[in-house]
Amino acid sequence: MIGEKIRCLLAMLGTDVHSKGIRTLAQLLRDRGVEVIYLGEHNTADGLINALIAEDADVVGLSYSTATYLHYTRDLLVKMKAAGVDDVPVMLGGLIHADDEPELREMGVKGIFGPGSSMTQIVAFLQDVTGKTLTAP
């Protein structure tokens, strides 16, 4: 469809306050033509899901810098399923330990971008899961 944009919700759950990474990602995605709906820190799973529905986001990105991500991500994915929005892909970024990747994949996380990930990888992922093309370089 003409005028289709990738709408990506970026948020942090729980008490994690290290927002430098997610803010940088928001700007990098904007510069590649993505419409970023930025929710910032301290979100609850229920609040995030309501925002996700209202914004009709194509994809959700979560950033973590603390070791609580397994708990928070599982909680979100369970609640997304209950709300009927588990069709929206979820990606994770930040300090994600490689050992946890199988468990995250199993619970339904579609993209994991830990330390060393590149924008090229993230952009390729976004285009792949949304079926939309980014026109900006």
Binding site: I2, G3, E4, R32, Y38, G40, D46, G47, I53, E55
Partner: protein, 315 residues
């Protein structure tokens, strides 16, 4: 026969609403019947427009207004428009950050919209989104835009009450006059009133408003200049009282309300006319050989641009 999507909107099915707004934003022509259906029954919800320069505190103000409306038991929808990058077409829609506490409240619906590069199309998309929200039966609708360009100002035409948010650091009133916003505002809010010389800003604004309205007669609305400090939740009750006073003024002066509705309808139709012309002539895929032939003539200076446009329209 009523439209299935329109019915879902009226039932308040949020995902249907959200997807419909996405299609409005994308300029999907297949939703025309849905919008026609919804438009017929719209026009009942008070729409409050909020604009002002970046950093004036608009989103924080909206957050406090939401809290107070919710405390009164009113259900409120918000349309938050943010600029797009002119370079990439992307955007960071960050207004929700200030309103996050309402995310878990089903009595509040917040939708962000990027201005995207469309010429005038923003006002059209925003107006259609407002029709959708209107049909859902909220008690109030708030629409927030950054007051930086004609596109954003045009969005405000669809509001019944327009708040222009200024700050004590916002420069003198020449800035306000320059931007042409004095004519648009129904209330001029001086936010961050706990900082700087708020009273001077208030009196300067009052003077500029009076200069414009003194000739309008006793029946005219005289925009008030309430002071707020949104981060400290100061002055919000007074602001809401002033908003209600403006609504009552329009109800008490049906001829003024009628003029406003007429201006809104005229703007809507004009936007659609412009959009039809734009898509007919400006979409690269729609540029006909005839169009390019006339452009060739203009390049060769055998025809001037104004005559060329006239000839295209009369084809």
């Amino acid at each position: 026969m009523s439209d299935a999507i329109a019915d879902a909107v009226r039932r308040g099915e949020l995902r249907s609403v959200a997807r419909l707004i996405t299609r409005i934003e994308a300029g999907d022509p297949t939703i025309a019947a849905t919008l026609r259906d919804l438009h017929a029954a719209a026009g009942n919800t008070p729409i409050i427009g909020i604009t002002g320069p970046p950093g004036a505190g608009k989103s924080t103000l909206v957050d406090q207004m939401l809290a107070r409306y919710r405390a009164n038991g009113e259900r409120v929808a918000v349309l938050a428009v943010d600029p797009s990058s002119p370079f990439s077409g992307g955007a960071i829609l960050g207004d929700r950050v200030r309103m996050n506490r309402h995310n878990t409240d089903r009595g509040v619906f917040i939708r962000s919209m990027a201005a995207r590069g469309r010429l005038g199309g923003l006002a059209q998309a925003a107006a259609d989104a407002l029709v959708v929200l209107d049909a859902m039966g909220w008690d109030r609708i708030l629409v927030e835009t950054v007051g930086v360009g004609q596109n954003e100002i045009d969005v405000l035409r669809h509001a019944d009450t327009v708040l222009i948010v200024q700050t004590p650091a916002g420069g003198d009133t020449v800035q306000a006059v320059k931007a042409g916003i004095l004519e648009v505002g129904d209330l001029f809010v001086v936010n961050k009133a706990d900082t700087g010389s708020a009273d001077r800003t208030v009196s300067a604004l009052r003077e500029a408003i009076e200069f414009r309205t003194h000739a309008l007669g006793a029946d005219a609305w005289h925009p008030p200049v309430p002071k707020t400090a949104a981060t400290d939740n100061q002055g919000i009750a007074e602001l809401l009282t002033a908003i209600d006073a403006h609504r009552r003024h329009l109800q008490d002066h049906p001829e003024q309300l009628a003029l406003r509705r007429r201006a809104q309808a005229r703007a809507r139709v004009t936007e659609h006319l412009a959009e039809i012309l734009r898509s007919r002539y400006l979409q690269p895929t729609n540029r006909s050989e005839r169009f390019e032939a006339i452009i060739d003539e203009v390049v060769a200076r055998r025809c001037d641009p104004s005559s060329a446009a006239a000839r295209l329209l009369h084809d």
